[in-house]
């Protein structure tokens, strides 16, 4: 089995809920200053309150901001993706060992908090909102992008001192979920219009390339196609005109 031992792989391949203060640069540099795109169509949130959704949207659009060619996390539907994940089995702690006693471990021992992902978000979002209001005197969404980034860096480094949980545990979860939402199959609500796949050039789940392997350097740019899109197409084709 092949690990991805690039730094990014080490940071993100653990899935989510990285409670670990991971090594590597904690400062983000050269963020652009584009404001967060406002949410397009009204969304019926399944997990977030409207306030929480607004805060999450503002945060994730700094993590993956829009640029001239490719939209950012909000345009890609990342808040909707996270909302769906938290409302579902993953959010309620599926595939998480939840028996106690809970104790603070070493970074090498991984996530040891008693929170499910849903509980982690619920708890953290309210802490983040209060902390931003206390420190900056306004809502996160209203801050200048530079200050938004500064606040996110404080969450990332753990400097934002929450008593209930380490802020970096929440930040790493949010970051991992944002990347997932930007690059997962669009049937989960993110990667809208396959923007993430188009950005990197990933052709999606329909795949078969053995005849192309030895065409080295091939400029291959087939537009991607998603799972649900395909399933829908299949279902649609199941309605032929029948005559007995």
């Amino acid at each position: 089995m092949t690990p991805d031992l690039s730094r990014r792989g080490l940071l993100l391949s653990s899935g989510s809920l990285a409670a670990v203060p991971l090594t590597g640069p904690t400062e983000a540099q050269s963020h652009d200053t584009m404001p967060a795109t406002p949410m397009a169509a009204p969304t019926l949130w399944r997990f977030f309150t409207a306030d929480q959704a607004s805060l999450v949207a503002a945060m994730v659009d700094r993590l993956i901001p829009p640029d001239a060619e490719f939209t950012g996390a909000v345009g890609a539907g990342v808040p909707q993706f996270i909302d769906g994940q938290l409302a579902g089995a993953w959010g309620s702690g599926a595939r998480l060992y939840r028996l106690g006693p809970f104790a603070e471990g070493t970074p090498e021992q991984g996530y040891q908090l008693p929170y499910t992902p849903a509980e982690l978000y619920r708890t953290s979002l309210s802490l983040v909102a209060d902390w931003v209001r206390g420190g900056y005197g306004s809502r996160f969404e209203e801050l200048d992008p530079r200050l938004q980034d500064e606040a996110l860096r404080s969450l990332e480094s753990g400097e934002a001192g929450f008593s209930e949980l380490p802020s970096d545990a929440f930040f790493e979860t949010l970051l991992a979920n944002t990347v997932e939402g930007f690059l997962s199959d669009p049937m989960y609500g993110g990667n809208r219009d396959m923007v993430g796949w188009r950005m990197v050039g990933f052709p999606g789940p329909y795949a078969g390339y053995v005849n192309l392997l030895d065409r080295h350097g091939l400029n291959f740019n087939r537009p991607p196609r998603g799972i649900a899109e395909a399933l829908r197409e299949h279902a649609q084709h199941h309605a032929p005109t029948l005559q007995r």
């Binding site: 049937m187 400029n219 196609r225 395909a230 829908r232 299949h234 084709h237 032929p240 005559q243």
Partner: protein
Amino acid sequence: MRPALPLALLLLAGTAAAAVELLGNPPSPRQVASGRAVAAGAGGQGQQGACFACHGFDGAGQAAAGFPALAGQSAEYLHEQLERYASGARPNPIMQPIAAAMTPDQRRDVSVYYAAQPPQASAGARPQGDPALLQHGGNLSAIGSAERGVQACQNCHGPGGIGLWPNYPRLAGQPADYLAAQLRAWKQGERPGDEPYNFMANIAARLTEDDIRAVSLYFASVRTVPRQAGTGVLP
């Protein structure tokens, strides 16, 4: 009669453009025009072997006669088939002399031309058949058959057999007789496999005559609609 070529080029799907590029060149108007001339019978195959007579200038084919649609197939795939007809690797008494009479450039250009034609929305007569047979064909397409040891067609040919270019041809909307004939030819060894993998010869050998009729009918019944952009979010 003569369609406006520049307009046709403007209408090229990104799909077709990229497929052509796989052949080594972006499609030039001259190549498409040259390919159209070959389709009209100006190639080495002559007027008697004019492509359009069976496949149309629009590449829609003739379902009733079992002539397959060429529109929307990748240039790569079409070119490979013409080469195989020409060499006899894909035996066919009609296509072999036609393809062999073309020059390599003509085979390439006519492939580029037909790849550039957008697939036509299917209209008119719908395939008719036993609903149970259609359902069985749909299952083979989407799930495969554990009993036969056959994987789903759409693993390679895309959802509903819409094709996964450059190498996996579109099956959707092709004439049932054409599809069934190919499967039978593979099964009976009359159409050699695609060395070294022999994917289809291997799969067809496992299908029963019933399976062949079912899956051919299914793909023939797939409505060929222009691809809709959509995110396809699951509830």
